[in-house]
Symmetry: C2
Subunit: 318 residues, 2 copies
């Protein structure tokens, strides 16, 4: 009987899940709104329903489902499978997600932080195949991070490592929701790009209406057509991202840096600024050898990585 | 026959060496000027003479010397024992130090970067006993770093990891010798403190003579007696060091941060500023659990750590 797992990406917006083979092929997939506002009980019920659909599907295909992997945002205690705290799920405090799901489903469940899961997804089936040391950055509303060293996630002493988005880049910079000032994510996330744009527009007071309604997608589009404030906003984003990546290269001397999140289409707009900063700030040899590449799996990275977690925790993947 | 090793700290200024037991006790020690300007052949000859003194001493004591460990500044290829490049030894380029020493001495020799060696020394016999994840910072002319994860040095893909002193802290800050601007070491090294002090003095143009002749020791002393510019210089040093440490806590979630180098006597002058920045910048839980402590071994850390490298490479220490 061939072996399979179910990978789940429990996002603040969408709940994605899939049935995957040992080779990482996606056999079926499901996506729906997470519905965070309805509370954790409804979200978990929805999650269980989706997993059961995959389980029935696996049965029909004659596959044995070994485990379920779940990538969830926030502070996760990976060993116990407890969601300690999650900014996207305000009512999830010390929620024993692994235990709750295992009690209902009767198969092993493993929980991992979502950015860590996405990093593992890229390593297993995406940009980082055969790479042993890799830093993964995901640019969304915030900036998430996953650190892979010697082929494994570095979780830190308490499972809280990898908060790369909260590296201070500008000591007296923009106020971040975490309490710090000048965090990388205040310059290189979608919110950061909007602030970069608003600051650029404010300098000449043009077009206040467009300025205030701008989304990161609109700014990327405007930059693509050569609008100067949008170009500046995206260049600033690349500059600060480049400072952060240069720091990571000097600290880790990794083989690869993978940038994911909703920025794939904008890659060509900011990557030159990233490379310019890395070139002038990081040590030459590690900077030249570190591949800086976009995510290959895109929105699938978290789900595929959660599957990788499941396979590795039951001993199928090393 | 009891086992021993010889640990060597090959510094830009001093050459320190010692004979150590398995328990890390120092049986005899030697210190002399390195004499870098005389060229690498003379330095290596001096090194060999000192090691031979320790070997004779071991023989007299009835000890078997298993290996020699050498901590050297710069880029070291730890596996091959080659000094790839060393800023303090301009004529050391791809020098096969391990091979040269083994050829003469006839016992195994292992080479490690000096900051990494000092980190291992603190972990073995100093502040970090029983600690598995520890970041070591050494504040001297520059700021060196050693990263211990899961009990071992993280070398990076090419042995160049741990360049913590070259983390960008101020994007458009002071020009560093590495080519970057705003590196941590331009604010928190002894050179950095002098620049902090000179900037503070420049603001009111007093006492230009004292300002220009100041050393870091003089500034610490003046700060200890309450002189306002010196106090400001040391507070700035603590502030920037705190930003760097907060970043490291958010990235690594380590058990401990150890600060070494020539700052032990000044600890009480800057540690409050460090803790203030960590408190406002790092995530609360990892920040509260991370012990930030001074080096216990001081100037012995590199030599003791080089001995730890030697013991562990011959399989005596795990």
């Amino acid at each position: 009987m061939d072996r399979a797992v179910i990978g789940v990406d429990l996002g603040g917006t969408n709940l994605r899940s899939a049935l995957l083979t040992e080779g990482g092929d996606i056999l079926d997939r499901h996506k729906q709104a997470t519905g965070v506002v309805e509370g954790h009980e409804k979200v978990i019920r929805r999650l269980i329903e989706n997993i059961r659909i995959h389980l029935r599907n696996a049965e029909r295909r004659g596959l044995k489902v070994m485990a379920v992997g779940v990538g969830a945002p926030g502070v996760i205690h990976a060993d116990s499978g407890v969601v300690v705290k999650s900014p996207n799920f305000p009512d999830w405090n010390n929620l024993p997600l692994k235990q709750e799901l295992e009690g209902v489903l009767g198969i092993p469940v493993f929980i991992e932080n979502d950015a860590n899961a996405a990093a593992l997804g890229e390593q297993w089936r995406g940009a980082g195949k055969n790479v042993q040391s890799m830093i993964f950055l995901t640019l969304g509303t915030g900036v998430g991070g996953g650190i892979i060293l010697q082929g494994r996630i570095w979780h830190g002493a308490d499972g809280m490592a990898g908060e790369i988005g909260h590296m201070t880049i500008v000591p007296d910079g923009r106020q971040c929701g975490c309490g710090n000032q000048g965090c990388l994510e205040m310059y290189a996330s979608s919110r950061g790009i909007i602030m970069n744009y608003q600051e650029a527009c404010a300098s000449d007071r043009t077009n206040a209406g467009a300025r205030d309604a701008a989304t990161s997608e609109m700014i990327y589009q405007a930059a693509g057509s050569g609008e100067k404030h949008a170009l500046h906003a995206v260049d600033e984003m690349g500059r600060f991202l480049g400072i952060g990546i240069a720091n990571l290269i000097n600290i880790f001397n990794p083989e690869m840096v993978v940038v994911g999140g909703g920025v794939k289409d904008a890659w060509s707009l900011f990557i030159d600024a990233v490379r310019r900063e890395v070139g002038r700030r990081a040590f030459a040899y590690p900077a030249e050898r570190t591949k800086i590449v976009p995510s290959v799996l895109g929105d699938d990275a978290g789900m595929v990585g959660a599957a990788a977690v499941a396979f590795s925790r039951v001993g199928v993947l090393s």
